[in-house]
Symmetry: C2
Subunit: 488 residues, 2 copies
């Protein structure tokens, strides 16, 4: 199977599409820009969702559900928001079909035109803040810490499975607070939570920072972002958390009485991650043989392949290993298919990214060992049957760590400090990755650099060193370096 | 708080709306027919979802995700299906808004009209079977056992929170099989699974049966249903499972090669339950004081209320009880609010349906006891602190059982056998519930009875006794009784 994948060196973009297809993660659909998430791809998303949901609940959040549709007029209520989101979206104009008078199928019933068009939510700030108006009267109603798991639609022109699709799945947190500092803290706490999730579960190192004003969420006063680096040297914005100030409270007139009975507008945050993370996961770890998954998010952590055939003795050993692994909370399956050769199966599970493969052969068994192969390094070892489960448990930890360290090394090797614009362009072209350069903090320089190089400021990193320097393009004074990159 | 609820006797419909509102389950939204599911209501749905998801996975199903939108032409491909679903639906006709030239907000961009309109899915058979065409070539690709958790939209005229809303949340299973008998078995297995879930988790007794041809799902050859009875004597269709024959396979040309390499159309099932179940849960158990929830689905199973104030000694005992309950996997919270009186809190938790309330007072504590109140019967008992956790654990089991038995008794008392049409009408009017009557198996009689009484045939129960009789309306020969009722 592996030979059906284009190599990264040959065509990175095609390599990605090949993996999505051959590992059975997603499929195109009959609807432009919308994908079908196949069972294996969805199981990865479910694992991410379950873990994030636990982390949100541990930090005091609850889930709720708001309508799919947003009245068109709502989008106009927050001035920046409408610019950002009211452009490419799915507009519902009618609520009925009728039989075509000519007998051919169905047509839109012209009498069923809606008085006001409905927009399929591209994000839910407006409908949610319109609701919060009824929920918030006093400081006793605050904070409101609500999250929603939902589908959203943004009519993207160029789509790519998981990374950019017209419809995608995500979570969106929307919180309301009595004070500015509480809201800022919330947005920062979630920012840290996202970073922890990315690094500890996805084994995907991220740089934490703030977006420039130009790159902020439409309607936000501050946007925090975690930025990952893919193997082609392009950055991926993996999760953002916004401090919204009182913008949405003012737009929807949401005020509260504080404990001195003084009325004030409510402070807000919003934050989200999406199925785009599945794309990031694929691109961070996979190789030319197929998908590579960190054990903590792999739907199947271990596969057992009997060699050459499932004979009784071999199957008994396999069943015993399964029992032991399940007892340790490790997900495992035995491939009992008698029609496929072991070699074919090996390639198949490499393609699908199962972190550990155990081969059980008759000869090995006579020596009391089995063959254990790890997907990340493709190393194989003969391991004693005694204590095999404990060995595998530790191996999964090692693989998780190795994947993180490996991608962190790649990422660290691809942060390049530059001080002049020729080198800036050269590095972007030849080496790619993040370019750390001085910026004069003007939108003019930011946009000009983007125009000339397609690189954007991914973030002003939190660990930015305050130092004097000169903007890499304009030569004007700068007080610190920011990270540029071409991005997905 | 309780006095704000209309009593069931006074106005059942208003009682339901009051509970939904006062227990904080759902809210109206700015979008006609769409509700906001509030955190408590959503937590109930999450508990249902988690349990159902486990049951689906235990029976070999996997989750996937298909597009929100369905090309209009797809709906016309299955003749019955288009009749059933292509009428009241949300139609997307444009993909862009633009600034209104007059400067007032945004308007639909007339240049962004879609070539083919998209329908927001009312159910997903068509888009899924269009996808299955690519996934199924041979018997080795079967069975395909896929479920999806999703939102769907049906443009309902009269809506009611949870029971009937324009947008609702549900799961829809869509399976593909090599043989008719396998598909029939699947639809029956899921039917039994739904009944088990309703009775064992929701404590809601159901009657299992088949729908008449007239009441079947649009495109099905057989529809199995579980029918519950609400406290006003109206039936609620709680979950349906459909054997679809080869209808969708033929409509979307999905064939497979069997193990003799002979091509045949694939056999299908589909099945679903929705947030409507939350409405059924509320109406099955609640009373004039508020929500009553079965412990297995209650977001909070136990609440501890310190009396009269949270003093140190009392709080220590409360914390100890919490630790013990959590160790048993019981969800519990302490109400530490110092501003509200215990009596107010008691009424509040009755309203919210928390199954068990523990009051801890100084005087009781001196005697080594606490006061335990159960929500279902409102009985209070003094219980020894020693062994309190085990006592509560058993009490939760008893409450679950009692709720089931109580609603089963009500249901059984409201199945009335009748043999003439005057009594039929009388019973429907005065006593309500299910009316068990002979039917001549014609659609004419079925529709006439519906027209005259608003009662529909809820199901042909599986335990129907084969006996000769006369149709309750037409007097024509019948071979068994079916269950009629007015329904939600």
């Amino acid at each position: 199977m592996a030979k059906e994948i284009t190599s990264r060196g040959e065509n990175y973009s095609q390599w990605y599409l090949d993996i999505v297809k051959k590992a059975g993660l997603a499929d195109n659909s009959a609807v432009r820009g919308c994908m079908v998430i196949k069972p294996t791809g969805f199981a990865i998303w479910e694992n991410m969702k379950d873990q994030l949901d636990r982390m949100f609940k541990q930090t005091g959040h609850v889930n709720a559900y708001f309508p799919l549709f947003i009245p068109k007029s709502f989008l106009s209520k927050e001035a920046d928001h409408v610019e950002g989101f009211a452009k490419e979206c799915a507009v519902v104009t009618h609520h009925r079909l009728m039989n075509n008078p000519d007998g051919s199928g169905v047509v839109v019933d012209p009498d069923a035109r809606l008085e006001e068009e409905l927009i399929v939510r591209p994000t839910s700030e407006t409908i949610i803040w319109n609701t919060y108006k009824d929920w918030i009267q006093s400081y006793r109603d605050l904070p409101l810490l609500i999250n929603q798991w939902a589908n959203v639609v943004r009519w993207e022109m160029r789509t790519r499975p998981f990374l950019r699709t017209a419809e995608f799945l995500w979570q969106e947190g929307h919180t309301a607070h009595a004070t500015k500092s509480e809201a800022v803290e919330e947005s920062q706490m979630i920012h840290e939570l996202y970073a922890r999730f990315a690094e500890d579960y996805m084994a995907m190192p991220v740089i934490k920072g703030a977006k420039t004003a130009n790159e902020r969420f439409a309607g936000a006063e501050e946007t925090y972002t975690i930025e990952a680096l893919m193997q082609d040297g392009r950055a991926l914005q993996a999760g953002t958390s916004h401090f919204l100030g009182q913008n949405f409270a003012k737009a929807f007139d949401v005020t509260f009485a504080d404990n001195n009975n003084k009325e004030d507008y409510v402070w807000a945050t919003s934050w989200g991650v999406s199925t785009r993370l599945v794309g990031g996961l694929i691109m961070t770890h996979s190789d030319d043989e197929g998908l590579v998954l960190p054990p903590k998010l792999a739907p199947t952590q271990v596969v057992i392949v009997p060699i050459p055939k499932p004979q009784r003795e071999i199957m008994e050993v396999a069943d015993r290993i399964v029992t032991e692994l399940l007892a340790l909370g490790i997900s495992v399956l035995i491939d009992k298919d008698k029609k496929k050769r072991p070699g074919f199966k090996f390639a198949e599970y490499e393609m699908k990214g199962v972190p550990v493969r155990i081969g059980i052969g008759k000869r090995d068994l006579a020596n009391g060992v089995v063959e254990v192969a790890r997907r990340d390094t493709k190393e194989k070892s003969s391991i004693n049957l005694d204590g095999i489960a404990k060995y595998v448990e530790q191996l999964l930890v090692d693989i998780q760590d190795n994947l993180f360290n490996r991608s962190k090394k790649y990422r660290d090797d691809h942060i390049t400090e530059v001080n002049d614009f020729d080198t800036f362009k050269e590095v972007l072209e030849d080496k790619a990755g993040f370019v750390s350069a001085h910026w004069d903090a003007t939108i003019e320089s930011e946009l000009k650099i983007k125009e000339l190089t397609k690189a954007t400021i991914r973030c002003i990193p939190h660990d930015q060193v305050k130092e004097s320097g000169k903007d890499v393009l304009t030569g004007k004074p700068s007080f610190g370096r920011v990270l540029f990159a071409k991005a997905y």
